[in-house]
Subunit: 118 residues, 2 copies
């Protein structure tokens, strides 16, 4: 079995209409989460949580991914023991045109200036 939905392990996501700008901004105002989003943006596919090298424990990582999911920034699904995460580009671009790109560009610029990763 490869592409069928995982049994019983469904993660709650906000509907597109429930995504709030304030929630998105709050989610991205944390350096760890901003780093996650930046990596997701550069990745073509969805990534599993373990692919990230974050300066926090696994518990905290779980917390940050949940904040991102519940604010509508990322979409998550299970595949085996892994949990794949991907940006909700379509929804965000539809709700807030140009915002995600501007944010990613801003983050790129800041990291290029300050080199203060994560």
């Amino acid at each position: 079995m490869t592409e069928t939905a995982a049994p019983g392990r469904v993660l709650p996501h906000p509907d597109r209409t429930e995504i709030r700008l304030e929630g998105v901004l709050h989610a991205l105002s944390d350096p760890v989460r901003l780093h996650i989003v930046r990596e997701l943006a550069t990745a073509a596919d969805e990534l599993s949580c373990s692919r990230f090298d974050l300066p926090v424990t696994k518990s905290t990582t779980t917390h940050h991914f949940r904040v991102l999911r519940e604010s509508g920034v990322i979409r998550q699904c299970y595949r085996g023991t892994a949990k794949l995460s991907g940006l909700r580009r379509d929804d965000l671009d539809d709700l807030f045109p140009g915002l995600l790109d501007a944010l990613l560009t801003a983050a790129d610029g800041q990291y290029a200036r300050l080199g203060d990763d994560v």
Copy 2:
């Protein structure tokens, strides 16, 4: 005359190079502050704090304006008893091109959709 805590009435602002994206996003993730920024964006000039009709007390208003100033989103100066506030458009556009416009557009769209003012 006692000049106890009156050091010329100058307000501390972060330098342009000290403005952090995370701080800006955090500042704008509060509904009250987002509302303030939206009003400042539509106003041509600087506005005094009392021009805003916010659902919080004066103490809390002072707090929110300070958060906006210390994060680098607004610039403030005294004129008489009034304190004028204005967006730091030049600095923000230079640091994060397109971000402020995208944020304001996103906020406009959300308020148009949800009508959930402040």
